[in-house]
Structure formats: structure tokens, C-alpha cells
């Protein structure tokens, strides 16, 4: 899961943090939590699509 966490962090940081400030503000924290959940949803969707193509 190391690689997954790294890639997720990279994608979500780029999406959610505009100009980095002195702390993660509330909207940035929410964005990161949602981004992470959507990334894992997307991972599942992509895995399923790939898997069904391999059958």
C-alpha cells in the first residue's frame, strides 16, 4: 500500500493545496479527506474495469 499512499498524497496535494499556507485550513483538510476517498473509489472502479477486460 506504500505506493498507493504516495501516489494518492501526490495527486491530492496537487488538487487541494493552492498556495501552501501556515497550516492546513479547514477547506483544505476537507478536500484532502474527500480526495482520498474518491481516489480509492476510482481505484476500485479502474481495477474492476481492468479485471473484466482480462476475463
Amino acid at each position: 500500500a506504500q505506493e498507493l499512499l504516495q501516489r494518492m498524497t501526490d495527486k491530492c496535494f496537487r488538487k487541494c493545496i493552492g498556495k501552501p499556507g501556515s497550516s492546513l485550513d479547514n477547506s483544505e483538510q476537507k478536500c484532502i479527506a474527500m480526495c482520498m476517498d474518491r481516489y480509492m473509489d476510482a481505484w476500485n472502479t479502474v481495477s474492476r474495469a481492468y479485471n473484466s477486460r482480462l476475463q
Binding site: 505506493e3 480526495c35 474518491r38 472502479t45 474495469a49 481492468y50
Partner: protein, 66 residues
């Protein structure tokens, strides 16, 4: 089987790199059906593209090169 799973995972990372940027704009409170459809199509079309390029490449190589 171990190796096959690692290859599967590596491919999914690869698809995610392309398809996340193409299909997900602002992450919302759930993955809406349009985004889901886009992700599934993105995987399908990427595989189509890979097959199409690999076939064409094999043809060129057989004909004795570019």
C-alpha cells in the same frame, strides 16, 4: 500468482495516473456515475490504444522496418 498480482497493481497505478487527471475534476462527496463511466471507458480505451499501437508496430517490424 504473486508476480501476476504485482503486475496487475502496477497497471492499475498506470491507468490511475492517466485516468484520474482525465476524469476527476474536483473530488466531490461521492463518485458520481458520469465520473465512474469515464474511468471505466478510460481503462477500456487505453487498452484499445495499447493493442492498436502494438499491432501496428508488429506490422512495421515484419515489413522490415520503418
Amino acid at each position: 500468482a504473486e508476480q501476476q498480482r504485482a503486475q496487475f497493481t502496477a497497471q492499475v497505478h498506470n491507468f490511475m495516473d492517466v485516468c484520474w487527471d482525465k476524469c476527476v475534476d474536483k473530488p466531490g462527496s461521492k463518485l458520481d456515475s458520469r465520473t465512474e463511466g469515464c474511468l471505466a471507458s478510460c481503462v477500456e480505451r487505453f487498452i484499445d490504444t495499447t493493442l492498436s499501437i502494438t499491432n501496428r508496430f508488429a506490422q512495421i517490424v515484419q515489413k522490415g522496418g520503418h
